[in-house]
Point group: C2
Chain length 550, copies 2
């Protein structure tokens, strides 16, 4: 579909945002990086308004968060607003695996989708290289006599590749004898799970990038002292590899709306939203910036607000919670196979999930709108059930059909969101104070957002948290890693579960990113490919077009 | 040095070659890819003349092959010729390791050197991804029941990264239990050693690329049948990842001469020269194409001629053999520490190496010139000794100082080479006929080029070669992998050794690249980092410039 739509030269898209041609570093006719120094020097008289698009807890039925973000951006532009969309950039893992592309769908897409989903402007490859030169320097240090006394059993820095490759999760490297290295356990994560990705997305300029990279903890010494990237003289090379990747990428939607697609950290062990640099660039260039955060609002939005906005001093003006009738039915207890046919009772029951997410967004001081990403099979009675549930909350529900109609299908949402953002009712505050102890930060999120009765901290976790605080990270935000499928840690507990405890299994310090990762359950940082991967349908046509991306 | 020189916009460089702006796919102001369909559609009335720059056997003293290629290109342009330079693109391994950058030196450089040496236009990252999606699909196939009956002990396809990382040479992957994969031995090569790189450099268009990728043999079944990339449905995804990387990259020298920098396979287990597509593009756009091949002429030039030129139907018009007085002294028996001070006898002795390489080039029917890449410490008597040795061969020697003076320092070489190329004396023929048995091809190279008395074939090697022939590869060229430091397999045998036998240790079929790799000695396909890697000096200045590349 996307290939038939004519695109504007990327300089025209940049010009719409007031970016001069000499600050546009083109990658072919339709992609560009904006010159980092130009972007960082922008000091607008009045920055734009930041609008977060988040969603109910994801289900296999799909919600369409990215699609809605794009549709809302297009719609705001159609009603005459100066707008920039800020999205995460795709990873090759999902593209070749099961989840597919990350460029929207239908008439609400960013383009050229083939190039954005495959290498784009090379940012993920740069992150892979920066992550892996650090890993190589660790093993090289150990090989050449190990003057820092690194304990090979306690190297926590893993290598990475931007692919789903299950077989690389756990391995023993350095085999083959004395001249081949020192054997130790290791593994690869997918690139988006690398701390380097989180750092790139939080760094405010090259100096900050460099400082953060230097703080990255990669291992412990035999006497349990932390070893950092700075200790290994890795920071300069990593910064050099990442320099160009720090510049935000500009593309356009199928309707020509400017879109900054930059950075894309995992939403579990990292904070799951696009780069601070791109968001700030958008706010300095447009009156409205529409952005999204990964997973449901309990994870993505909470981290967007408590980590990204807090650390970057961003003040969002409104939030949109996206739902589909199909997904609400699943939260109401219907299995995926039984989604066909009207089921008003299930929709009503499933709205408990939506309601809780809306309530949660308000706890951050944000005005909220609900967007129903409409499917043709949705019935009037089902849609009325959603409206009814939202009426009790005094939140507006907007039916959207941007998938089928582009921005025209999301105009009512756009009017409402613009009114919310312009209304001045937002009074953003993070959920917890920076000086709260780490355990209390976790407890606050568990109680206020997940609605857990309490949190279980194993003694080892308490000890680690105390160690992080002693090391100067008491003021750090926490980055929750739990299943995205439920407010609880049980992925099958749909809707709005109560009466559960949040078990914390493990905590890790991402000293470079500047947050404490709190693992509640098994978190996969290297996905596997399914039995028939999406890659098997992807190819190049005789005319040279990429085919089979979906 | 390079940073102070003003560069032309890349469209101007393209225009000098007659490339229209809409066939120029810019990567920023100074790098571009030329549109592949435009390049492939070129049918010039009179193609350009192809000039190979090769060298004596390398020594730690350095020869300056890339620098001479650039200097000769600049000089040809200065004397009014329409010229394109064709170079290999750099790998991050040497850039961060010990060998350094691959963009020339002094006033004979391609630019922007920082961007070319770091990610450039992403070709190597694309190759890494294509290599590794195939690897992931192998393990995924085994994981999901292994219907092809792949023997996990006989998977020959290795993963790759574009870094020097010794610890990844040998590993056991798939650890961690049933849901994490099937344990097996594996390892990573550096990306330039991947067969995908060799394929990219030999493929003539996307269709040929796809056919070659399909033929790649990745493993054997339990009953010893070959398993190919096509069997694993990997070809479409690999082609999609490589599509943009197939388009040749255009940059310029510091003097503004157009340079196509594209592809860069290892010169041991692969053929060590830039892409066929870039060379053909150069020949279709310029009157003279100056290119180089890896290592000394016994390896690089032989493979350039017997593999690349033969398979692509290229007819070179002249060859330049580069030497330095310092390196000739080392071939004459002087240790690196003792190179200071005049030593005419050592130069004369060392010329035996140069003479043999010149003789060898003539066996391919090529007229030859010798270029002395001059150092200030070279004395008149030493230079006279080189001239004397060459006089006996009736080959012209040209003193060059392109490092210090740019193209102006290589004008006499340029006049001589243009005269050779225009003289019509070239009568290129490969060294051996395609229908010679594989053992005889190897024997021909060993006797004619290396001057070995004979070749030792272990029984296992003979059996493998017979198997390759039975499988349809009797007509394939052979790709010799031996030390580059000597004509023999003993790296310490400098000069022009005789009285030795060439021991073949192992043979491998690169069915996608279309050649049989003949390993004579230990060949390293994943280098290690030195004790103090170049990476430790690389960084980004406060002004955002990459520093410390060398």
């Amino acid at each position: 579909m996307a290939r038939g739509v004519p695109l504007k030269p990327i300089e025209s898209v940049a010009a719409e945002l007031g970016v001069p041609a000499d600050a546009v570093y083109r990658h072919g006719p339709f992609k560009a990086k904006l010159a980092l120094d130009w972007v960082l020097a922008r000091r607008p008289a009045k920055p734009g308004k930041l609008i977060l698009v988040t969603a109910i807890s994801p289900t296999p039925a799909g919600e369409g968060k990215t699609t809605t973000t794009i549709g809302l951006g297009d719609a705001l532009r159609r009603i005459g607003r100066r707008v920039a969309i800020c999205l995460r950039e795709p990873s090759l893992g999902p593209v070749f695996g099961a989840k597919g592309c990350a460029t929207g769908g239908g008439k609400a897409q960013v383009a050229p989708m083939e190039e954005i989903n495959l290498h784009f402007t090379g940012d993920l490859h740069a992150i892979t290289a920066a992550n892996n030169i650090l890993a190589a320097l660790i093993d090289n240090h150990i090989y050449w006599g190990n003057p820092l006394n690194i304990d090979p059993r306690r190297v926590t820095w893993r290598r990475c590749l931007d692919l789903n490759d299950r077989a690389l999760r756990n391995m023993v490297i350095g085999l083959g004898g004395a001249s081949q290295g020192v054997p130790r356990e290791d593994g690869f994560d997918i690139t988006v799970a690398s701390e380097v990705m989180a750092i790139l997305c939080l760094a405010t300029d090259l100096e900050d990038l460099q400082a953060r990279l230097g703080r990255v903890i990669v291992a412990q010494t035999r006497d349990k002292k932390p070893v950092t990237a700075a200790d290994l003289d890795a920071v300069g090379a990593m910064t050099a590899l990442l320099r160009d990747a720090m510049a935000p990428n500009l593309v356009q939607t199928l309707e020509g709306t400017p879109a900054l697609v930059h950075g894309g950290p995992f939403a579990n062990i990292a904070h799951g939203c696009n780069s601070v640099i791109a968001t700030r660039a958008g706010l300095s260039l447009a009156d409205y910036v529409v952005t999204e955060a990964g997973f449901g609002a309990d994870l993505g939005a909470e981290k967007f607000l408590d980590i990204k906005c807090r650390l970057a001093g961003l003040e969002p003006s409104a939030a949109v919670v996206v739902a589909t009738v199909r997904a609400l039915k699943m939260h109401g207890g219907v299995a995926k196979a039984d989604l066909k046919g009207e089921n008003v009772a299930a929709v009503t029951a499933g709205c408990a999930n939506l309601v809780r997410h809306v309530e949660n967004m308000r706890k951050f001081g944000l005005p909220v709108a609900v967007a129903i990403n409409r499917f043709t099979a949705d019935t009037e009675a089902e849609l009325a059930a959603v409206a009814e549930a939202c009426r009790a909350l005094d939140v507006e529900v907007h039916l959207c059909n941007h998938w089928g109609e582009g921005g025209a299908g999301a105009e009512s949402l756009a009017h409402a969101v613009a009114a919310l953002a312009d209304g001045g009712t937002a009074a953003f505050k993070p959920l917890y104070a920076a000086d709260l102890p780490l355990t209390e930060k976790i407890r606050t999120i568990a109680r206020e957002i997940y609605r857990a009765d309490d949190v279980e901290f194993p003694a080892t976790v308490r000890a680690r948290l105390a160690e992080f605080e002693a090391r100067g990270f008491r003021e750090a935000p926490v980055c929750m890693a739990k299943t995205q499928y439920s407010f609880s840690t049980d992925p099958d507990a749909k809707g709005a579960p109560t009466g559960f405890t949040l078990p914390v299994r493990e905590v890790r310090l991402s000293a470079g990113a500047g947050f404490v990762v709190v693992l509640c359950g098994d978190i996969m940082t290297m996905p596997g490919l399914p039995k028939v991967p999406a890659s098997s349908h992807i190819g190049v046509s005789p005319a040279g077009h990429i085919v089979g991306l979906s």
